[in-house]
Symmetry: C2
Amino acid sequence: MGPQETSRGPVPHGHVTLAQVARWAGVSAQTVSNAVNNPERVAPQTRERILAAVEELGYEPNLSARALRNRSSSLIAFKTRPARPDKASLLMDEFLYALNASAAQAGYHLILCHAEDGSANEIKAYRDLLKKTSVDAFVLAETHHNDDRVAALRSWGVPFATFGRSWDGDDTTAWVDVDGRSGTRAATEHVAAQGHRRIGHIGWLAESEIGAERREGWLDGCRERELETDLQAAVPDTLEAGRQAAHRMLDAARPATALVCASDTLALGVLRALHERGLRPGVEVGVTGFDDSPTAALVSPGLTTLHQPIDVVGRELIKAIDNLLAGDLREPHHVLLEPELIVRGSSVTGPMQSGPPRQ
Amino acid sequence: MGPQETSRGPVPHGHVTLAQVARWAGVSAQTVSNAVNNPERVAPQTRERILAAVEELGYEPNLSARALRNRSSSLIAFKTRPARPDKASLLMDEFLYALNASAAQAGYHLILCHAEDGSANEIKAYRDLLKKTSVDAFVLAETHHNDDRVAALRSWGVPFATFGRSWDGDDTTAWVDVDGRSGTRAATEHVAAQGHRRIGHIGWLAESEIGAERREGWLDGCRERELETDLQAAVPDTLEAGRQAAHRMLDAARPATALVCASDTLALGVLRALHERGLRPGVEVGVTGFDDSPTAALVSPGLTTLHQPIDVVGRELIKAIDNLLAGDLREPHHVLLEPELIVRGSSVTGPMQSGPPRQ
DNA sequence: CGCAGGAATTTTAACGTTAACAAGAGGTGA
DNA sequence: TCACCTCTTGTTAACGTTAAAATTCCTGCG
């Protein structure tokens, strides 16, 4: 064992090839290939002998050769995007880990793709990648209405799945998403159950489908309890915007006593506004966010928020792609997951309040 | 243009091959290959004609074929790790993006590798990946003393570079790192300049080289100004540990008036402790963290912290790998970068305090 | 006994690229 | 004139795999 190669080039490894296994087992290379890929074509005892040889020699099929021959690489491409410093959420970090874990388990590898901002650049990057190396499928995140990227991949006939619904109503693409509507609805019902009657919503600007959906959930929750829905704001997803919107809603003639926000970032802005007014989160004003960012657990008091089941998202996306690649032409894979409400001090008056209230 | 393939399989693309370009330009495939890879071997006018054909036909070399032939894939492997929910930092997210951006620019692609926790699993994952597909190099993050992974890659003769020094004194590996010592030293000097004389340090447990180094920086800063160094704690990197350590240091006979922490997570624990005691960060007690997590900017008041130049780290790592792959056998690439002190409200009494102080 | 039909296995060729070598053109100096 | 370089281009073979076709060997049946 352990070939002591001295060359400096890459892969100085004990490359075990199909031919070597074949020689070892006394069969032809093709039979080894069959034993590995199409077991039923090989006589049971031959197969056993070959698999023993495979085991013994530590053979692993060479993916480059396979990719060249089969035009399929077991590679799934995903484009990274810059971490926005003003965003509290680790969502993409967690997502990538979860996706990669599921991909590995299913025998795929994730290959990262880079493009400067802008969907034209992104599409070009995808096309270049496809030309250069055979990529079996793509995963897209943060898809939106009339997404050029979706249109491009679809027109090329490349298998792909998206984290985010296909908002344009065309349901031929496979997607996995988290139900923001039921999430904010749960948050709204939760603060209502705490006795709040003036529940405001701080959400994203109109162009965001995700934002619109989260707003709907708040509306659902309010309507169900016949609460007024006059307190709402549509702002950019920044802490400062959340802070200002909170001030406005607390300055209203009949001020809000609870604020359901479309993101943790906005909710943190609300917390800052409360801090500035000497109001205690949870005690005087209930606050909820969305995404369960690390910050939500770290601020004082903790921020009530909605946790997205990111690991399930990753798993389902891989499953969707696996189906596509298997040529499974049934209904495209659609999965809508429920977020989980994580209750912390910012929305309750009781024992979850960390530390003594200021007098 | 646009072959209208109807098959559902992967890569239904207009595959332009070397042979097609060759036919188009009226030369042999080898000459096209040379024109692309070894321009000097081809007569200028021929070369021009070929490059025009390449352009015209949109030829991109097939990486699988190249990998098979050359045993080099222009793939760099990196292992993702789970995002720890109690950690405030986006460091890995930003790192991955930066690394990928630099890799793309240098003509590499990042391939992700997955392994359950534990360096044995990780090493196995690396070996499997090497067997299956030719990976040109590896990037390792969070290396530590006597790192098995480093030893394994070294013994295999695979090119790699690490984010983190090779702490075991063997400097034959290429690394890029951020100077934690000068970082905490800067933080210490900063709070001292604010008038603090009882400066404590809350750092990590003894086994961490990074923690030890950050502690040294605090010692440097204190010694320079002849301040006492009796207030120090070595704790796990959690918010709760930071909170408790802060309480201890504030309960001391001569309590701390400033706390320099080894991470934002710990510093956020300190902020929580201050909140519980009704002390104002910055005003009564100066606090600094490390890593410039998003949370640091979002809490009230903002947390003074040290920003790691992550994009430079990514760029230098790729440069290191590029050197290795080019067979550049000079001194291995070592880069030690300075973190940048970001001053926010938690360490100053002045106008950076957000909102009116509580009365 | 001869031959059809099938199962198991081998042979051939190809995926797209490039190193190594071969071959041809043109020039230079003895 | 010819041997001998240099410069440019072409030919061959191989990287490791697998689909398709070809071969061998068996079994059963008329």
